[in-house]
Structure formats: C-alpha cells, structure tokens
Amino acid sequence: MLAVVQMLIIVALAPLVQGAMKRLRARLQGRPGPSIIQPYRDLAKLWGKEAALPEGTSIITICAPGLSLGVALTFAAALPFAGPTAISIVDIVALAFLLGLGRFVLALAALDTRSAFAGMASSREMTFASLVEPALLVALLGGAALGHGTSFAALRMAPFGLAGTLAFGAFFLVLLAETARIPVDNQETHYELTMIHEGLVLEYASWQLAMLQLATYIRQLSFLLLSTLLLPGGFSVWLAPFWVISIAGAITLVETMFAKLRLFEVPQLLTTAFLLAVTSIGLRLFGAMV
C-alpha cells in the first residue's frame, strides 16, 4: 500500500519537476520561460487529441507507450522510501534489466516507423545505453554496503566519504545520460538529426505521446530519487526533496554552462563515469584492506 502511495506521489510531482527545471534553465539563460505547471497542461492537451501513427506499424508500436509507462511506474514504486514493501524485492541489477525492457521496446517501435530519423535515434540510444549500464551498476555498488544484498528492501548504504563522493559523481554523469540532458542529449532540440530520446518518439502524437512523456518525467524523478540514496541521509523521506531540488538545480546549471558534446565524445564522458565508479568501489574494498 505504501508503495502505491509513493508511486502516486512521484507520478503527481514528476511533471512539476520537469516544469521547474525548464523554468530554471530559462531564467538562467535570461528568458522568462514557461510556467512550471506547463507540463501538466501539455499532458492534458495531448491526452484529448486523436492518435496518428505511420501506415502499417505493428502492435509493438501501439503497445510501446503503455509498456514504457508501466516500466516507469514499477521503477517509481520500487524505490525504498516507503520502507520494505512487496515490490521492493526488486534489486539494482533487476532494475537495470527492467529499464532495459522499456528501452528495447521503444527502440523497436522506432525502427518500426520506417523513419530514418527514428532509426538513427534508436541506434544512438542503444549504443549509449550499453555504455551507461556498466557505469550505473558499478556506481550503485560503489555506494552500497556490500554484503547486505542488493534488493531495495535489504540495501544498506556504506558510510559516505571520499568513496561515496566518487560514486555519486559517477552516478551524476549517468543521470545526465539517462535523463537525456546536455551534454549527452538535448531535450529542447527541434533538429531531428541531433535528437536521441526525442527522435525515438518522433512519430508518436496525442495521448500516446502523453503516455511516453509522462513515463519520461516519472523516470527522471525516479532517477533523481535513486541518486539521493548515494548522498548522506539517503533513505530519509524528509531529506529526499531537499536533495532532489539540489541535484535538479545542478543538472540545470550543467545544461546552461556546457554545450552538447559531439556524438563520439559522449563515450569518453561515460567512460569517465565508469572509472569514477570503479575508483569509488576500489577505495571501499581496498581501504578496508590497506
């Protein structure tokens, strides 16, 4: 029951976080920017429209938005803020596979639309995802106290410190990639050739697009919450909003201060994340031995 409450809170607040980040980014760039509740309005508007898909697409494309939303909801429900619940048997490895499921179906749907833009996005999304995955897992392992088990119900964090800082640094880079932020991707681009995440859903419209966007917002907030586990006081429900606001602010700052990387420079960023995570886990493991 608590897991459902947690999931509903995340769903309710996810568009707000997106709106706030967009607004903050606009203000940092000297523009007034849209209202922070604009994502809710967009979702409501899209929900009422008629759906349109390319001719002859398969059932995969039709199911993908709902499946994607389901994956995001499971992610939101599994986070360990509500204490141990039936769904928190999900662990960090299974979480990576679950996110893989959502990505797999979305990438297939993109190829199903026959669009070269969507195919390009599909290829890039899968490429970067394969590089993100090792960094994601090792960063989470670097922050966790090994030996308790990796499920969210049993997960215990190791004391924060230099190793914890490095693990969080690695996860922050992963976060930029997973939430489609500059310098990896640009959510606000209108140029098909530079799109990654937007390109995947290029052919969707109306309520199907609304489902996909809501899924993206939920995933973003869930990832932000997941990253707070790596910070001091990680499991506290009361500290989490503070951390989420800080990290979201930091992401927006990065988006304002940096330009998008060239496509083939992104692997270097992701490798950096991986190496930071390895260093962190190395400090944890060998610190005890030296």
Binding site: A52, P54, V93, S115, G119, S122, G282
Partner: protein, 623 residues
C-alpha cells in the same frame, strides 16, 4: 520421406531416453553405473553411467532435440534429419560415458557427425574450408582432452571416472595444473571460448539451421560439461587460479563475442557470435563456483554453479529458437543477409512474434529465462565481491560485473537491430510473388515449444532452479545461498509494464489510430530510407574500432554534377584480431622458411658439410 520420418522419429526417441536418464540422474546423488562392456584389458573398459552433473545437460538435450525434430519434419534436407538423430545420440553417449575410452570415442563420434552436418553444402568452397577449420580445431582439442584424461587415468590406475574422482585429492599440483590447461584448451576450443572461437562463426552459419540449433544449443554445452566434469570431479579441488582464469576468459568471451555480433549482418553468423557471448556468461558462473569453492565458501559456489547450469539450459533453448527461426527466414526469403531483409512481421505471422520472444530472452529481458539466469550470475558475482579475498580476486570480479553489464547492453543493441531490421519496417527489396501468410505448421510448432519453455522458465524459475539447486549441492557439497526474491521477481517486474501495454492496445482499439505517412521532411517515403543494420551498428563500430579494426570502402559515382551522386557504394567489414594475429604468424613463418631455403642448395657436398658440422657440434655440446 521415409528417411526424414525415421530420422525425426529416432531423434525423438533419443530425446525421450535423454529425458528419462536426466530424471534418474537428477534424483540420484551419487554416480550410477548402467552398462559395462567387457574389454581385453581393463584400460579399455567402456562404462556408461549417470552422474548428477550430467542431468541438466541431458535435460537440455531432450528439450532441444524434440523441437529440432519437429522443425525438420517440414524444412531442411531429409539426410540432415537422419544425421541429426545420430548427432543427438552421440551427444547423449558423451554425457553418460563414465570411462576414458568411452568418453573419447563418443566425443570423436560427436565431432565427426557434426562435421558432416557442417559440410552439408560441400559444393560451396567456403563450406569446405569452414569444415576443414572445424575439423582441425576439433581434432586438436580432442587430442588435448585425451592427454588430460589419460594423465588422470594413469595417476588413478583405473580408467573409470568414479575411480579418477576418488584419486583426485592426491593428484600432485604439477599434474593438476597440466590437466587443467589441457582441459581448458580442449573443451574451451570446442565450447567457443575466446581466443579459440574462430571456427565457430565459420562453421555454424554454413550448417543447416536445425544442425546449427543443436551445434550451438547442445554441442557447445557438452564441451562445457566436459570442462565442469574435469574441474569439479576428476581433478578437483583446484586452486584459486582456476576460478580466476575461468572468470577472466568468460568475461573476455562474453564481451568479445557480443562486439563481433553487433557489427555482423549475416543473421546466422551473428547468432554464432552470440553463442560465444553466452558460453562466456556460463563460464563466468562456473569460474565463480570454482573460485568460491577454493575459498571455502561452498554456499556461494553452489549458487554460482546453479546460475551457470541454468544459463546453460536457457541458452540452449533460446538459441535453438533463434537458429530455427533464422532457418525459417532463410527458407522463405532465400537469404539471411540483414541488408536484404525487412518487414517480415507482415507475413511470417507465427515466426515473427516467436522470434521476438527469443530476442527478448537472449537480451535477458524480464520475464524470460535469460533474465533469471543472468540475474543469478550477477548475484553470485556480487556475492563473491562482498565475501572478500585478495586484491586480484576483487579486481577480476569487479571487471567481470562491468563486463557483464556491458555485454547486456550490447546484446540489447544487437537484437534491437536484428528484430527491427528483419521483421519490422518494410521489405528492403521488391519481391516477385506476393508473400503468402505463414500457416501454423510443424516448424512454427517447434518455435512455439521453445518460446513456451523460455517463457515458463522465466515466469516460474523454481521449476528448474530447485532441481538444479539439488544437483549443485551434490556437486559442491553444500546448499546454495538462498535467493528469497527469485520466485516473484520476474512477475513483479513485468506486471505493470504488461498491464500498461494491454491498456495502450485497448485504448488504441477504442479511440482509433489514424494512419499517416512517415515523416521524412517531405521527401517520398521509400523502403531504402529505412535505417539498415550496418548503419545501426555504425556508432558501436566507431567506438570499439580499436578491437573491431573496421575496414571501410566508399565509392561515389557522380554523373553530370559532382553534387548529385548517381550511386554510392559502401562496404565495411571487421577484421578479426585473432585472424590478424594468425596472418602475421603465418607471414613471419613463411618469411623465415624462405630465408631457410637458402640452406637447401641441392649440392651433395654442402649437405655432407652440414652433417659433419652437426656431428662436431653434438660432440662439443655433449662433452
């Protein structure tokens, strides 16, 4: 027709026997002797028997041979159906051989029958070459295996595996190491571990699809059975280095195999590379089992062994499904080149969704079987990392976790490419006759059986994991670490996504979806505008260029204006590090031999001088 029917019937009979033996072997905790043939000397004794370790492999053989038989009822050549019966029988006999002679002869029978299957289309030059490479590797490997087994038998003074296992504890460490290295070479080359995998992507694609399914799904596993037999029973217990070696080689094979798969666009060769990858994952599990056992952590060792055995069965099932699906595609389309296929979803109405289940299973997506066994492998690696050990051990385990995660991501990229390019979108070339809708026939039933097994073992993993736990406990001597979340995990993960997919489909049916043209910036929508397999893997080819050594050629034919090319030809191919090394080695050898030819002048006096010089040298040295 008679040949085909009797071949399929014999295959099913062997499968039934294998299933029966698997049940008996799995329920007995000690090796069981079935038949002993009299021999002139005790050294040549042939004993067939059952050991608990063989049970999962026998079960896999049964589960795979039945659908392969069903597929062969309608597709493939009749003679292949008959050969497959013999091949299945040979593999069954390897698994129940309990003396050195029995093992060696059945092993050779398995290699030779499979070579006939690889050489099915021997009228093509490439096929003959592939068969030759396969035979050379198989025979060299068999020699290594024979030497290893003979060393063990001589030490034990008895050729039966039971006696060898009993004498293993007293084996001197020099001999133990030698046996391990030989077994790793012999069984590892047969299983397709890097860097001795090179025969596999040559042999598997040229064999008929039903043979490929068995080669990849079952024969590689028989080789892994041999490796486990030697390391866990015949030469046990091994030092920590064995486990570490296996984890390292497994990780390298997993990452290397999937990298070559991602950039390949021949469907069957790509699947063969995925076999290298999955054998790597199994060997990682086996390595953790050996490592944990040598550290005295028996519970973790049993968990890792369960994971390895489960992945063995799972890989057999989904790889069988994918190879048979590729066979159906090859039969109906006449090619397995990804660049020429497309849009098969429309008329292969049974093969396409079943193939998708295979893709999801091999990518380790929940709720399919590949997910559960890969997840268990991860759990055992993390367990190893948490349970301590020296710096080297922890580094290897950490590297393996990262490698496995990278492998998972690359496999996902590869199968998005495969399924998206082959089955989705629109056909890439015009077809002469309109494609007819596939009917539900025996080959489709074969795919459905395998897909059902992949789903069932994923949704209800305890069906397999509980018996495997007992077998692992018998082999290691302790119950595996419990994984309390395992029974409910796959369904917990997919409940909401499946509900979401159903709701999205229902909403689309109720509210209607308008059909519109694909957005192409206003230019005409043509099939050739779709992303191709080569294009899809381009970023990965660029990022991993340091391993893949891609070679590319771009020819632009321009007409009247240099700005509007008439035609662009693009060709890219990966050179293989191992082939490059072999080529360098051959080049150096040839250069040296050419130099050495100067010694051969043909003059008798010079030869006499050589002889005298050698004699003087020998006398000087020997003094």
């Amino acid at each position: 027709m008679m040949l085909r029917l009797s071949g399929v019937g014999a295959t099913w009979l062997v499968a039934a026997i294998a299933a029966l033996l698997a049940v008996v072997a799995g329920t007995h905790h000690t090796p069981l002797s079935l038949v002993t043939l009299a021999a002139p000397t005790p050294a040549l004794r042939v004993t067939l028997g059952l050991s608990p370790l063989a049970a999962p492999f026998l079960m896999l053989l049964a589960l795979l041979a039945i659908p392969v038989g069903a597929w062969s009822l309608r597709r493939g050549r009749p003679v292949d159906a008959a050969l497959i019966a013999g091949f299945t029988l040979a593999m069954l006999l390897v698994l129940i051989a309990r003396t050195v002679v029995a093992f060696f002869f059945t092993w050779e029978a398995m290699s030779l029958i499979s070579a006939f299957l690889v050489a099915a289309h021997h009228e093509r030059r490439g096929v003959r070459r592939a068969t030759f490479v396969y035979l050379v590797v198989a025979q060299t490997g068999a020699a290594c295996v024979l030497v290893a087994l003979v060393i063990l038998a001589v030490w034990a003074g008895d050729p039966s595996f039971t006696a060898i296992g009993r004498a293993a504890a007293t084996l001197p460490s020099r001999l133990r190491e030698a046996v391990f290295v030989l077994a790793l070479l012999g069984f590892g080359s047969k299983a397709g571990l890097l860097p001795l995998h090179f025969w596999l992507p040559r042999a598997h694609p040229v064999a008929p699809a039903n043979a490929s399914a068995l080669l990849s799904g079952a024969m590689l596993k028989v080789a892994l059975y041999g490796l486990l037999l030697v390391t866990l029973e015949l030469a046990a217990p091994g030092p920590t280095a064995w486990g570490l070696t296996l984890i390292l080689i497994g990780t390298i094979s997993a990452v290397g195999g999937v990298l070559y798969a991602v950039v390949d666009h021949d469907l069957k060769r790509l699947l063969a590379y995925h076999s290298v990858e999955n054998v790597g994952i199994i060997v990682i599990g086996a390595g953790v089992a050996l490592l944990a056992r040598s550290q005295g952590n028996a519970a973790l060792a049993a968990l890792a062994l369960t994971a390895a055995l489960f992945h063995t069965i799972n890989h057999g099932l989904f790889k069988g499904l994918l190879f048979l699906g590729a066979g159906t595609v090859a039969d109906t389309e006449g090619t397995v080149d990804l660049e020429r296929l497309g849009g098969l979803w429309g008329h292969l109405v049974w093969t396409a969704p079943l193939f998708l289940i295979g893709c999801a299973a091999i990518t380790a997506l929940p709720p399919f079987n590949g997910f559960v066994s890969e997840w268990m492998t991860f759990q055992s690696l993390i367990g190893g990392l948490a349970s301590g050990g020296g710096a080297a051990i922890r580094l290897v385990l950490l590297g393996s976790i990262a490698g496995l995660a990278l492998t998972g991501g690359l496999a996902a990229a590869c199968f998005v490419k495969v399924f998206g390019v082959v089955f989705l979108g629109r056909p890439r070339r015009a077809r002469e006759a309109p494609a007819c809708r596939e009917r539900f026939d025996a080959p489709a039933l074969a795919l459905a059986l395998l897909a059902a097994a992949c789903t069932m073992f994923g949704v209800a993993p305890l069906l397999v994991v509980s018996p495997l736990d007992r077998i692992a406990a018998a082999a290691i001597g302790a119950a595996p670490l419990p994984l309390p979340s395992l029974p409910m995990l796959p369904l917990t993960l997919v409940a909401l996504p499946l509900a979401g997919a159903a709701i999205a489909a229902a909403l689309a049916a109720r509210r209607g979806v308008r059909s519109v043209p694909t957005w192409t910036c206003g230019s005409p929508v043509t099939p050739s505008a779709q992303y191709t397999a080569t294009a899809f893997s381009k970023p990965l080819r660029t990022i991993f260029a340091f391993v893949l050594l891609p070679e590319r050629q771009r020819l632009v034919e321009t007409g009247a204006s240099p700005w509007f090319p008439v035609r662009i030809r693009y060709r890219t191919e990966s050179r293989y590090v191992i082939d490059e090394a072999a080529r360098r080695f051959a080049a150096v050898t040839l250069r040296l031999t050419r130099r050495a030819r100067a010694l051969q002048s043909g003059s008798l006096r010079l030869y006499l001088a050589y002889a005298v010089a050698t004699m003087i040298l020998v006398v000087v040295v020997a003094r």
